[in-house]
Symmetry: C2
Subunit: 216 residues, 2 copies
């Protein structure tokens, strides 16, 4: 299964022709993201995905090596988008905490826009022998890297509680973003984006040392 050509970072046309193909892939991404987010990877059939994308089953196997391959590429696709958004605000803010705030805001927006991707992620991420184990490990590292450097920046500009493990902190923020975003979607649609960001930012304000801060 899976020719798994790997190279993902680039989204530009690899050949000269794939005008139709790219559009079809995009439709298949959207359709499968939706369906798999709702019912889980194992709960969705390839026929359903094809139908939802308005495409035949054969086309799915023309564009992807297998159902498994489709899902792996889907995960990469989503992370590409999320990572790009996080990076887009990373350095725009003068203040490190404000930057963190903006980044969490971007994460919340992403969760609101692609809730199905978030569901897919939390559904499959921690499965122990999983077909996408390596894919998840790599993608997770990428996202955690972005968060990690933002935390690093905070640690550089503020006095922080050194007794708190950087890695655990990254994970806690990362996880809180997903869960708070999903919970808002599923159980508490009335909660605002800013409320959610504020709740998650509490963890950062707890991380920076409480010292007589001359902030106005």
């Amino acid at each position: 299964m899976s020719s798994s050509e790997a190279g993902q970072a680039a989204v530009q046309p690899k050949k000269l022709r794939p005008a139709r193909t790219n559009a079809t892939k995009q439709k298949l991404f959207e359709a499968s993201m939706e369906l798999i987010g709702e019912r889980g990877a194992a709960g969705v059939t390839v026929d359903e995905i094809a139908a939802a994308a308005g495409v035949s089953k054969g086309t799915v196997y023309y564009n992807f090596g297998s159902k498994s391959d489709l899902i792996a590429q889907l995960l990469r696709h989503g992370v590409d988008i999320l990572e790009a958004r996080l990076l887009s605000v990373q350095d725009e803010s003068a203040d490190a905490l404000a930057g963190m705030d903006a980044m969490i805001g971007q994460a919340m927006d992403f969760m609101a826009e692609y809730p199905s991707f978030a569901r897919l992620w939390v559904s499959e991420n921690w499965r122990t022998p999983s077909e996408w184990q390596d894919t998840f490990a790599e993608l997770r590292a990428r996202l955690l890297g972005v968060i990690g450097s933002a935390i690093e920046r905070v640690a550089a500009e503020y006095p922080v509680d050194a007794s708190i493990s950087r890695g655990s902190l990254e994970t806690a923020i990362f996880g809180a973003c997903f869960v708070v975003g999903l919970d808002r979607q599923t159980y508490n649609p009335e909660r605002t984006r800013d409320q959610s960001v504020a709740a998650i930012m509490a963890i950062m304000r707890g991380y920076v040392q409480k010292q007589p801060d001359p902030q106005g």
Copy 2:
């Protein structure tokens, strides 16, 4: 997984017979928790569950109405255990923040002991039209209630940031517990329990007001 269910109000034999049945149910809980946590509810067959429990398929349907029913009862079973543990330390600590710390510690212990339950939870919790929608809503409310009252206690004993929505805070802590616990299991087994608790507790320290503390 110690039998030690102890979970419920009434565990005594309702009739005179069900000695075997209760033991069988317990075995089925353990087996299905493991398998479903690893491969997802839809990815596990009833035959597999029966085999793993050392029981025939028919026995599964003798003890449970359906695969779906088995999973619903499994979710209840796990939440009963978790809730009991959280409540067990709720009022033991004199200080509200120390109580919160103990509660998060209990949560981390639970995640370490029943990682498969945690995986099952995050896998199925946010599915939108799900067979266990109502079950999840109820169980989620129970757990959030425990956390909420612990937060309330903190708010009573400490000055807190009133601009932070109580509900979002509950969710953030709840989610962080699951994600940090699972991540430790899957990707960072070297992280200690206390590191994880400390990272999550940062959110509480960010919640209590940094007020012009007349110190130093």
